[in-house]
Amino acid sequence: MYQEKLPKNCPPQSAVENDTIILYRIFHGNQLDASELMPYNRLYPKNKRFQQLCEAFAISFYTDYDLAISKYNEILNKGKKMGNFIAKLRIKAKSGLIKINNNTGHCNFWFYQHFDISNDIECLEIIEL
């Protein structure tokens, strides 16, 4: 049903199916393709510590540009560049389940198996960081 084979109780009960939604994603290349939407568990498949944790199977987005930049800067100060670009995206309804943290604007997205980046995401704007 999902793009990833998820662990038990994942996504959490508090996650909801998305309506059409505008979200921000920080990414590396200058073109947003499937390689930019890889969850942590696939980026680091040998990292055994996170192979059963639901968040590691989600893709991170932000509900707000400023909140995304704030997190980008926070992690940059820790010595890691999360990406070179930030994209404003319109994601089609029923693409998956989302859980938004209203305090930080961070959003975990677990995409359904049928989700297709070329059809279900519209890139509205890309800004270089």
Binding site: N9, Y40, L53, E55, S60, I75, K80
Partner: protein, 184 residues
Amino acid sequence: MNTLEKYKIPVSPFENSEVQEILDFADIPLLYVEVDSIGKLYLNYLDRFIDEHLEQRFVVPISEQRLNALKKGTLSVGEAFCHPETPLIFVTHVSQLDGDIKENYLLPNEVFQTFNSVSTTYFLSSEEEPVAAKTNLVKGEKLLVEIGKFFDEQKFLFNADEMFMAQKVIHLLRERISLSGEMR
């Protein structure tokens, strides 16, 4: 030799520990709870990357009570590290690639505080998972059954007025739990 090297320990207390819950995740796990082989809980914070894929993390033992306060947002993450419950704090170097802990350091609190980078304004969301809230309701119902039984079995300890009051309180709590369950 830098200050940290003086506190290197040859054993790895987190060799068999498991990440129990991620508390803050933004493409990478920033803060999580891990549990060691004897069930002790630790709060684990990403301080910084000391190499491309090598994380320096702060790890403090944490009680369930404190952890709950942290999750409810009544205690900041910074406070948990500024005023830890134990006088010794771990610093670990962990590979992001395979999760292996490359080095372990054990620092007295006063030394750790010179490294401590956790902001005291860093609070977690106060959003509680409905599943946890529901579990608490079930626990509450069970507790009320036990209290009811206790009053029935130990009637001789109370006079009629006290029994009436106790039953009224139990009834009120049952109603509230039932109402709260319907609202979810």
